[in-house]
């Protein structure tokens, strides 16, 4: 080729620089496209890692036993919502070998007051086992102990926000609060835990499950043992989670007399939940990337559009260049390189904007987005090749211009 790359590049820069407004507008599509690819992929990955962390915050090796059949949708779960009882939890603790700790949980949203101060809290009736299973830490005082659990003493442990709302800077330990207008004594405050699946865990109040049953929810008609919403179980070690899952299923089927019927409960391991969430977030990332890809495509078409206009506008220049000895390949190289330069500069600016929006995302939301080098590499490659592909048609058109016609235009 008579015309070398460096020559062409400096020529293209000069030409693009001579028409800054148009060059800028041409790049806009690619800028937006690139920024959105990077930002969207980062947002998707942030959502993914957020969800993963949420599950991991549930505690490792934890199994969740819930009433109803999760596989058959929410209505199936609701209609059998009382199939799981406190006695089931006690049986799991006593009979399943692969199990470490068992934490039955019976919760209800209730009004919690102290004098004039009041708040709505998720009041969880549970046992001391809640601490090892759910892996919580105490900021002050203690959690419920076995004595509280056995006796009918009205002791309460507050979530950090509840404590803040009702007590402010005061020490809440040994102070009284009213839950559903019943007086409880505060024995501890849990460290802030953030929210999990939209549930603010710091708006929780923990009380002994027996107190919950006896004094708040009351005995259920026709039940020998009170129903619970969740039994959280920790496996004895990392390798025994699936064994525990199997043994719990067998035990509960026996206890519920389900010989020829389907399970009226669900045992899910943290891994099950993670897998489900991962399959959803994978699709989320894909959809986001696809959407962003479309804007990149639109950006490419924008480049093609303007380059075609530019070929028409510069017909005389093309004719002149051909008359003084430019080959068709020189002309097409010139226009292709202009398109690639636009795309790459646009890509760089877009990448900058994308990274900027990631920083904003990290500051403004609980998602902590990482700047993915692969996303940057991909969007650079894509924008470069977008310039190349969408620059080809205009370049071809320019190369095929008849110099005589071009000079007379």
């Amino acid at each position: 080729m008579a015309f070398n790359l460096l020559e062409n590049t400096s020529m293209a820069v000069k030409t693009l620089g001579a028409n800054k407004l148009r060059s800028g507008l041409t790049m806009l599509g690619i800028i937006i496209g690139n920024a959105s690819v990077i930002a969207m992929v980062a947002a998707g990955q942030a959502a993914q890692s957020y969800v993963t962390r949420q599950f991991e915050s549930l505690g490792t090796n934890v199994l969740f036993v819930t009433p109803g059949d999760a596989q058959r949708g929410p209505t199936a779960g609701v209609s059998r919502a009382d199939t799981l009882t406190l006695a089931d939890a006690e049986a799991i603790a006593a009979e399943v070998l692969a199990v470490g700790a068992v934490s039955p949980e019976k919760n209800q949203r209730l009004r919690v007051t102290r004098g004039a101060a009041e708040t709505q809290a998720n009041v969880i009736g549970t046992t001391p086992e809640y601490v090892p299973v759910r892996q919580i830490d105490l900021a002050q005082g203690r959690f419920l102990n076995p004595v509280d659990a056995q006796s009918d003493l009205r002791m309460a442990v507050l979530g950090s926000e509840v404590a803040q709302t009702l007590f402010g800077a005061q020490d809440p330990i040994n102070q009284g609060v009213r839950i559903d207008n019943i007086r409880f004594t505060v024995v501890g405050v849990v460290t802030p835990r953030g929210s999990s699946f939209g549930q603010n865990q710091d708006e929780a109040v923990y009380i002994p499950i027996q107190v919950m049953v006896d004094q708040i929810t009351g005995q259920e008609v026709g039940k020998t043992s009170p129903s619970v919403q969740t039994i959280a179980v920790s496996a004895s070690d990392a390798t025994s989670a699936s064994a525990a899952q199997y043994q719990i299923t067998n035990l509960l089927r026996l206890r519920h007399g389900l010989l020829n019927r389907e399970d009226d409960f669900t045992v899910q391991s943290q891994q099950d939940l993670l897998d489900t969430a991962a399959s959803i977030t994978d699709i989320l990332v894909l959809v986001l990337a696809f959407t962003a890809g479309i804007s990149l495509l639109v950006g490419g078409i924008g480049i093609m559009n303007i380059m075609l206009v530019s070929v028409t506008e510069r017909t005389r220049e093309i004719g002149l260049r051909k008359a003084i000895g430019a080959r068709g390949s020189d002309i097409s190289a010139q226009f292709t390189i202009e398109a690639i330069i636009l795309a790459v500069i646009g890509g760089a600016i877009g990448t900058g904007l994308g990274i900027g929006s990631i920083l904003v995302l990290t500051l403004a939301t609980p998602l902590s987005a990482g700047i993915s080098l692969s996303a940057i590499a991909i969007s650079f490659t894509v924008s470069g090749s977008t310039g190349l592909i969408f620059g080809l048609l205009p370049a071809r058109r320019a190369a095929q211009l008849d110099p005589i016609v071009a000079l007379r235009s």
């Binding site: 005389r316 220049e317 051909k322 008359a323 080959r327 005589i404």
Partner: protein, 241 residues
């Protein structure tokens, strides 16, 4: 040997009923060092002949040898190289690139000729000095008058040291005084041995050439030394200068 040798050249545009014979059996030879004008009414075929001579177009039939090379058989890329090395073009509308300075415009043909970069600027500067624009090297076209722009275009046309300079109505966009300064440059280039062929409407311009070739209806009507033309056409009033 003739520099330009056209033999039985035909150029036909369109097909079937729409066929237009722009050139019919044209034979023409121009020797090195000649200074020719091609004249004729519009539609006479003079522009088509100019395009063929300039290797911007190919004949439908006939053979064309430029400097001994049978250019009617060459491919587009080879023709581009011929235009680059053997021919310099000057146009009525100058056709300078507005984003480049005078010296950069003049450097352009050397870019396509692969002249090493350091040589380009010095050669372009010399060419501009030759046309009297040594003090306007870094002006852009819009900072130059029409005559100055045409002089930049001439510098660009001669910078690759072509054998042939083709000018298409080079004075058509200029006033008569400026036209004369351009013609003076052409005359001086011709004295240095450059072969010049120009298409023109302007009688005054044509008379300054050594040879006037008149086209009509796609054929050469007359081919006369300019000195004879003046005697024949004494009734044509001289343009005031």
């Amino acid at each position: 040997m003739a520099l330009i040798h056209l033999q039985q050249i035909n150029k036909v545009y369109g097909v079937g009923d729409l066929e237009v014979h722009a050139l019919r059996d044209v034979n023409l030879s121009i020797n090195p060092g000649e200074y020719c004008a091609i004249v004729g009414a519009s539609g006479s075929g003079k522009s088509t002949a100019m395009n063929l001579i300039g290797c911007l177009d190919r004949p439908t039939r006939g053979s064309y040898r430029l400097d001994g090379v049978p250019v009617n058989t060459l491919e587009a890329d080879a023709l581009a190289d011929i235009r680059n090395r053997k021919i310099g073009f000057v146009f009525q509308q100058f056709h300078l690139l507005p984003q480049l300075t005078a010296v950069e415009n003049v450097m352009l043909p050397m870019v396509y000729a692969n002249v090493p970069k350091p040589q380009r600027r010095s050669r372009a500067t010399k060419a501009l000095q030759k046309v009297g624009l040594g003090n306007r090297l870094h002006n852009r076209p819009n900072q130059l008058s029409g005559g100055q722009q045409q002089r930049v275009a001439i510098a660009r046309a001669i910078v690759n040291r072509p054998k042939l300079l083709l000018a298409d109505e080079p004075t058509g966009a200029l006033d008569s005084q400026t036209s004369q300064s351009i013609m003076d440059i052409f005359a001086s280039l011709n004295r240095d041995g450059m072969t010049l062929v120009m298409v023109t409407h302007d009688e005054v311009v044509a008379r300054q050439c050594d040879r006037v070739i008149t086209f009509r209806d796609g054929q050469v009507l007359s081919d006369t030394p300019a000195i004879l033309l003046q005697v024949q056409d004494h009734h044509v009033p001289q343009r005031p200068t």
